[in-house]
Structure formats: structure tokens, C-alpha cells
């Protein structure tokens, strides 16, 4: 620990920190994190191997892998897991493509650029609950703007589609909301990545007669690829874990068709009091996430090590 610091400069009278004197600076944040975040997380993992329930009088017992073998046979869980994956992919991919398109547009010298930049922030700053409520108003079978727009274009049936309650449309309807809600942050991140694109290289390629697509593939994409990978894997994780949006939009309905894993786990834990079982679900979700996280972290830490 100290070696890295000592190597950097004169030890005496320097503004550089020596590792020894820093614990009192680190402790105020580190202790709460350890006590209320790392600790509970380990506790939560342990709970997955117990039969913990709310309001039970007998002591909680270790049950080994029982929760997991129950999970394996729980078709509702598999349904929700599958829905979670479909949702996460279905949101992350369009989110990325649309955000990339918007970022490229905003990088151009267009007149309405400022408005798009300003508007792109709105979904980001909004409470997820409000985003859900807002889209319920849009999707509303009678008073919603979507049905009215389709009607005026002569596309929709007159009685109006109940988007969020229809078994065929519900998942698609919530996916659209997910895309809308997450696009801005992705756009801003990609815009920042675009600043890494060397302008001269772009111009040189244009001089050589490279078309827009070719320039994108050979100049732009290589420059933003690390940022794109990072934000996409984070988006996938966030989307897979999301809760509030769908809770407000459909509460998992109709008939469980939008019951994301988090909604399922929430119900098990706080409606039925099955803490152990819900914790096991959480751990199963981690397994999916871990793969992506490993990809993202290895990139990020490597990047950390390289700079300066």
C-alpha cells in the first residue's frame, strides 16, 4: 500500500497523502458501508439457505439448498425469470440503438439540437413512479393519447386497445416505457464517448471518400466501443433488476405476464413473508448478473490500472 505512494514524491512537506494518515478520512464512509451494505448483503446471501419467514415464532433453521431445489421446480419463478430476460434484452438493445442514433444526431450541427438535449434529460430526472403513471395515462384505453392518435390515423379499432391489460400487448407496452426511461442516460454517456473520436481521422476518412457508414465503422465505433460496452452491460443489469416502473404500470399483470423477477421476489418477501425463499431468488438473479458484471469490471479495473 505505502510503496505506491512513496514512489510518487518527496515524503516530507508534500501534499501527497501517505496511506498511514488516511484512515480517519476513510472511516466515516467506510464503516456505514460495511455495516449497512456489505454486512446485510452477506446476511442476505446467508438467508437464502434458511427457512426464514416473517412473523414466525420458531427459530430460523438452515435448510441447505432446499430453497434452490424449490426454485428449480417453481414454474412461476421460471416464467418470471424468462420474462426478466426478455424484458432486459428487449429494453437494453433498443435503448442502446436509439441512444446511439440520438447521440450521433446530437453530435451533428443541427438546429433543434438544444431542444433534444434538454428533452432527453426529462426521463432521467423523473421519479420512476411518475414515469409509470404518465405512461398509464398515455396507454389508457379511453382517455389515452395513443389510442386517440391511432384512431385519427385510421389505424386502431374504435373501442380502443387496453394496452397494459391485454395479454398480447402488456409486455411490449412496458418494454417501450423501459426504453423511453433509460434512453437519456445512455445517450449522454455515448455523447461523451463520441468526444473521444479523433476529428482529424474522421476528416481524413471523408477525404478518402469513405461513406457515412464506413466512417462510422472504421473511425467512430472503435473509439466509442469501450463506453458502449460499459453502458450496455450496466443497462442490462439495471433493467434486469428493475422494479418501480413495472410495479406501477401493471404490477406484474395481466396474469403474471410482466412479473419481473424483482416483482416476484418482492411479493414472496413482503406479501407472503417468505424471506429465505425470496433471498434465494435474489441470489439466482445475481448469477445472471455476475457474468455481465465480470465483463464490465475487468474492463473497468484494467482501465483504472492503466491511467497515469
Amino acid at each position: 500500500m505505502k510503496g505506491a505512494v512513496a514512489a510518487r514524491g518527496p515524503a516530507h512537506g508534500s501534499a501527497h497523502l501517505s496511506a498511514r494518515g488516511t484512515w480517519f478520512l476513510v472511516a466515516p464512509a467506510l464503516i456505514p458501508i460495511l455495516v449497512l451494505s456489505v454486512g446485510p448483503l452477506l446476511y442476505g446471501i446467508a438467508l437464502a439457505f434458511t427457512d426464514a419467514q416473517s412473523g414466525r415464532t420458531e427459530a430460523t433453521r438452515w435448510v441447505g439448498l432446499l430453497n434452490f431445489s424449490d426454485l428449480l421446480q417453481d414454474t412461476l419463478f421460471w416464467d418470471s425469470f424468462r420474462i426478466g430476460l426478455v424484458w432486459a434484452v428487449g429494453v437494453t438493445v433498443p435503448q442502446f440503438l436509439l441512444a446511439l442514433g440520438l447521440a450521433l444526431l446530437l453530435g451533428q450541427d443541427l438546429r433543434l439540437r438544444w431542444l433534444a438535449r434538454a428533452l432527453a434529460i426529462v426521463p432521467w430526472a423523473m421519479p420512476e413512479v411518475v414515469v409509470g403513471i404518465m405512461w398509464r395515462l398515455v396507454y389508457h384505453p379511453d382517455a389515452g393519447v395513443l389510442n386517440e392518435t391511432l384512431r385519427s390515423l385510421g389505424l386502431g379499432p374504435d373501442e380502443g386497445v387496453d394496452w397494459l391489460s391485454g395479454t398480447a400487448t402488456a409486455l411490449l407496452a412496458v418494454v417501450v416505457v423501459g426504453v423511453w426511461a433509460g434512453m437519456p442516460q445512455t445517450t449522454v454517456t455515448l455523447l461523451a464517448g463520441l468526444q473521444n473520436v479523433p476529428r482529424e481521422l474522421h476528416e481524413a476518412a471523408a477525404m478518402d471518400g469513405a461513406g457515412a457508414w464506413r466512417r462510422f465503422r472504421t473511425v467512430t465505433w472503435p473509439a466509442i466501443k469501450p463506453v458502449a460496452l460499459a453502458i450496455s452491460s450496466l443497462n442490462f443489469i439495471w433493467n434486469f433488476n428493475s422494479f418501480a416502473l413495472v410495479f406501477v404500470l401493471t404490477d406484474g399483470g395481466p396474469g403474471g405476464r410482466t412479473r419481473l423477477p424483482m416483482l416476484f421476489a418482492y411479493e414472496e418477501a413482503f406479501r407472503y413473508g417468505q424471506f429465505g425463499y425470496a433471498a434465494a431468488m435474489g441470489l439466482a438473479m445475481v448469477a445472471v448478473i455476475a457474468v455481465l458484471l465480470a465483463v464490465y469490471l475487468s474492463r473497468r479495473l484494467r482501465g483504472e490500472g492503466e491511467d497515469r
Partner: protein, 294 residues
Amino acid sequence: MTQDVPPRESSWPGRRRVTRRTAGRAGQYLALLCYLVFLAFPFLWLVSTAFKPPRELGTLHPTWIPRAPTLDNFRTAFDEQPLLRAAANSLLAAAVSALVAIVLATPMAYVLARLRTRFARAATGWVVVSQAFPLVLLIIPLFLVLKALHLVDARAGLVLVYVVWSLPFALWMLTGYVRAVPPELEEAAAVDGAGRLRTLVSVTGPLLAPGIVATGLFAFITAWNEFFFALVLLKSPEKQTMPVVLTHFLGAEGVADLGPLAAAALLATLPSLLLFAVIQRRITGGMLAGAVKN
């Protein structure tokens, strides 16, 4: 495609190239317009609904712009649900947790930015990991712990959770801001005979202040918007925060009084939207400095 010939340098830009460029421009504007519509229309609809009288809401052919705009929905919203109290609860939880998070995180962020050790790396790794865990794995044990401490259904319990929840992110952003302050400035001050503390307060502090404010406001916004922890931890109606109270407007069967619902939702959004507009540039800058630097 294959017969594409690179243009000669002296060549007069042919008519085809000009029209193609114009078409490209038009396509760009069309695409931008589609984005604008997609981004704006749900929000405009929310605003429109909030100002509509009941008879304009029930119709089969809703209007974009209310014919007889009214503030009745806002009045009804306040009558139906304890919105003021909910806003006060949210304000308290968000302000206290943001303030505490900043006070705790700033010193550690300073260390993380200036020290490049295994510990600093582990801490940074943890910041990322903590963003990725499904909250249910955290809330069940927290619920049990807080219950044992009699802090379930207590505002203090929620504030505690919010502090810890916003710490990693605050660390992340603040570390980025500290790195932006050149250590040479601190060294110069030290050469001039200023002590460590003096250097921090009079040299680094002022340079860091805008970043600290931005991080604090961002923590405030996230806590103001937060739903899951508040839903699980607060049961008494008089303690609930804005997002939780908003869901009460939805009613049991999802049947909602649309006007007041829209009005309340709009009110709940305004603080975070305004604050975000103020700090937007710093947030995106700070986050990127910490997040996707490769």
C-alpha cells in the same frame, strides 16, 4: 457501391452530390423530429391531463390541449391524499440523507482519488458491484436488522438506508471531481508553507465545492425519486414519501381518477426536474469522469 470513385480534388461538386447531401440533412432532421416526439409526447400528455376538467377526461376522443383548463385537479389531489405531508417527508429524507452522505463521502473520495492502492481499487470495484445487486437481496436483511432496532416504519430508518445507498455513488462522482484538481496546486501550497488542513480548506475546497454541491443535489434527487425502500420500510400513511403516496391514487383495481393523478404526479416531478436542469452538466460530467473513463 463498388464503383464509388473518390472525388477528384478540383472537381466541381456535382448536382447529384448536392442533392444527396440535402437529402441526408433532411433525413437527419426527420430523425431528430421523431426523437423529439417520442421524448416529449408522454410528458406533454401528462401536463395536458393535469389541467383537464373531468368531462374532457371521460370522453372517447380526448383533446390534446384542454378546452377549459382548470386547476381543480390540483385541489382535488390535495383533498384526496396527504400530499403536503408526503412532500415534507420526502424533502426531509432526501435532504438529510444527501447532506450526511456528502459529509461522509467527501474525505474518503479524496483519499480514493489521491491514493492508488489496492484498497482504493477494491473500494472502486465495490462501488460498481453495489450498483448491480438486486435490491431485494439487500432489503430483506436490512428489514430484519432495522426491525430489531425498531427502525422499521420510522423515518430515521429510511434516512439511514438512503445514506448508505447513496454513498457509493457519491464516492464515485466525488472521486472524479477530486482527480480534476491537479495535485500540483496542493504541492505549491505546501511549498508555500501551508499545512495539510490549510491546503485542503483554502486550495482544494473551493475548487471542489461545485462538484460537492452537484453530488449532493444528485443524491437529493435520487432519494426524492426513490420508491422501493420507501414502499417496503414505511407502512404508516403519515410517514410515507411522495412516490409511495402517488401510487395510492391508482386505487385498488387500477381504476384511477386521472386528473388528480396527473396533477399530483406533475407536482412530484417538479423539484427533481428543476434541480436536475440546474446541475445537469456537472452530473453528466462527474459521472462520466468516474464511470466510463477507460
